[in-house]
Amino acid sequence: MIAGRRAALVGVALLAIGLVLPFVHGVYIVFAIDLVCFALAAVAFDLLLGFTGLLSFGHALFWGGAGYVSTILIAHGVTSFPLAVLAGVGYAFVLSVVVGAVAVRRSGIYFAMITLAIGEIQYFVAFQLIDLTGGENGLPEPTRGTLFGLSLENDHVYYYLVLAIAAAGTLLAVRAVTSPFGAVLAAMRENETRAKSIGYDTDRFKLAAFVMSGTLAGLAGALYAGANRLASLDAVDWHTSGAIVMMTILGGIGTIYGPIVGAAVFQSLDFFVSKTAIGDKTNIVMGLVFAIVILVARRGIVGELLHHLNARRPRFVEDEDDPDRLVADVAGETA
């Protein structure tokens, strides 16, 4: 799935859909930008969850934190939007090094709880630094400026910029997990003790994956703040961390492209449900859908599809569906 011709085809197909998305009848451009930003964040999240088995409940740290940093810079007179976004990404990088260094000391549920709790620190800092962040009102982003002579104020121009960045980010993620680095992650995931005994410093590899994931999520979050012209407390709230978790698992853990599908389905469903009588209580439906996925379709949309496609062909490898683990190698073609 992740490497090879079939994967390349899936990647090209998703990109093609991305290219025509703004012209699809009824698709609001800001909705499309949000979707692509979340897709990139979910890909970044899969880099961590799918390939190290670490479930972070704190990715709003990077998503929302980078959004704040870039917006604060622009609000304080930085005229270059790309520069502000880069600063946001830099913040996400530094933050993920620090948070990762603490969190990778534990794994499993502990890792989830710890990242969740650390995320709350940033939430309250953003909540209390009203002069800088606007507190509960959020901080508006005055302008997106221009890039190569094109005005980023135009939503369509901005959309295609975001799409190009998200495609590059996804390519980077694919490249990372198919590299020797990715092979070490896979080895750790299969058997950490053995990977350690061969001589790999597994904590450092986990940290590296965490930093890559956090930094990419920060990039997505800075672009998201630009899309909505606002850095808000919502983006640093743990519900946002949870939403990224849900998109990734909904699409398919460890499939890289799956989370893109997951983000698209999640955002669309959320949008349609919000138009119904239950209004902003969309979590009734989102939570139910997620619970069903966890109970009966843990491979996610793309993972289940691949599983059934692969099941039809003769296989020479042993079935790798180990029910004891969160991260089963759903693709079966990574090697």
Binding site: I114, I284, G287
Partner: protein, 295 residues
């Protein structure tokens, strides 16, 4: 800000014990559930919220008195927890514990938004029982009687649960099933019933916390949100699965947070998390925890 007199500090310590009582009740339930089921109940704060709502609607609809609610709400929410365990959580035993964390997270989303639909997003006040209204003279100050009541109840309940688990035959079974589930089954003990009962009991403790919180705060659907994250941090600090660790860390962090907030107000909301980070750095298994088993 008031003057930092010893009396003022003492009042803050009492306030800290009140909060600590809630933390301890919740962390205790979370820890018992974790010890037995190896799952982290993300919906623990939601059960706390439901406990408060049972008390609130009980008072509204059938004039259920507060003291009755202290019994009824844990029973109702405990029964609901039993239902969840039997119908949903049970399906995921034997899988990675993260799946149950995610399932209970989904439950948080569904139940919270359902309650927002039913009760509205804004809070409703719950009257402090007349018997506990007013203040009590503690020598150094007049302190709200209801808050003293919360401290007393939470200390008694925590102590009782501790004694049940550490000193009774039932507790021995629970500890056995926690340590060596296979061996316990081999001795003819129905661990599956014990598991269901433990989950129900754990969430009943959360519901009790919710009833106790009702007169103190506005009863509202999101009241469990911040509580659950604080509780997570406290069980990480105390050592996941450690009964004593949860109780001690609960009360201690309540006091530390309250006193810290006086000394340096901006840190009020984050101190617990900062302590958690320090504990992870210097004692990753928590203050009372055993080192993590190899994954």
């Amino acid at each position: 800000m008031s003057q930092l007199t010893p009396d003022y500090l003492l009042i803050q310590i009492f306030n800290g014990l009140v909060n600590g009582g809630f933390y301890a009740l919740l962390a205790l339930g979370l820890s018992i559930i974790f010890g037995m089921l190896r799952i982290v109940n993300f919906a623990h704060g939601t059960m706390y919220m439901l406990g408060a709502f049972v008390a609130y609607y009980g008072a509204q609809e059938i004039h259920l008195p507060f003291f009755a609610a202290l019994i009824v709400a844990p029973l109702v929410v405990g029964a609901f927890g039993l239902l969840l365990e039997v119908t949903l959580l049970r399906r995921l035993y034997g899988l990675d514990p993260l799946y149950n964390l995610l399932l209970t997270f989904a439950l948080v989303l569904v139940i919270e938004d359902l309650m927002r639909l039913v009760a509205g997003a804004l809070g409703s006040p719950y009257e402090t029982p007349a018997m506990l209204a007013g203040a009590t003279n503690l020598g150094f100050t007049e302190y709200p009687t209801y808050r003293l009541f919360v401290i007393v109840v939470s200390v008694i309940v925590c102590a009782a649960v501790y004694v049940i688990i550490e000193r009774t035959q039932l507790g021995a079974k629970i500890r056995a099933a926690t340590e060596k589930p296979d061996l316990t089954r081999a001795f003819g003990i129905d661990t599956s019933r014990l598991v269901s009962a433990t989950f129900a009991f754990g969430v009943a403790l959360a519901a009790l916390g919710g009833v106790l919180a009702a007169p103190n705060t506005n009863v509202q659907p999101t009241m469990g949100d911040s509580v659950i994250i604080n509780t997570f941090a406290i069980v990480v600090i105390g050592g996941m699965g450690s009964i004593l660790g949860s109780i001690v860390a609960g009360f201690a962090l309540g006091v530390i947070a309250a006193v810290g907030a006086v000394l340096f107000p901006p840190i009020a909301n984050t101190l617990i998390f900062i302590v958690m980070v320090l504990v992870i750095l210097f004692r990753p298994a928590g203050l009372f925890g055993k080192p993590e088993r190899a994954a």
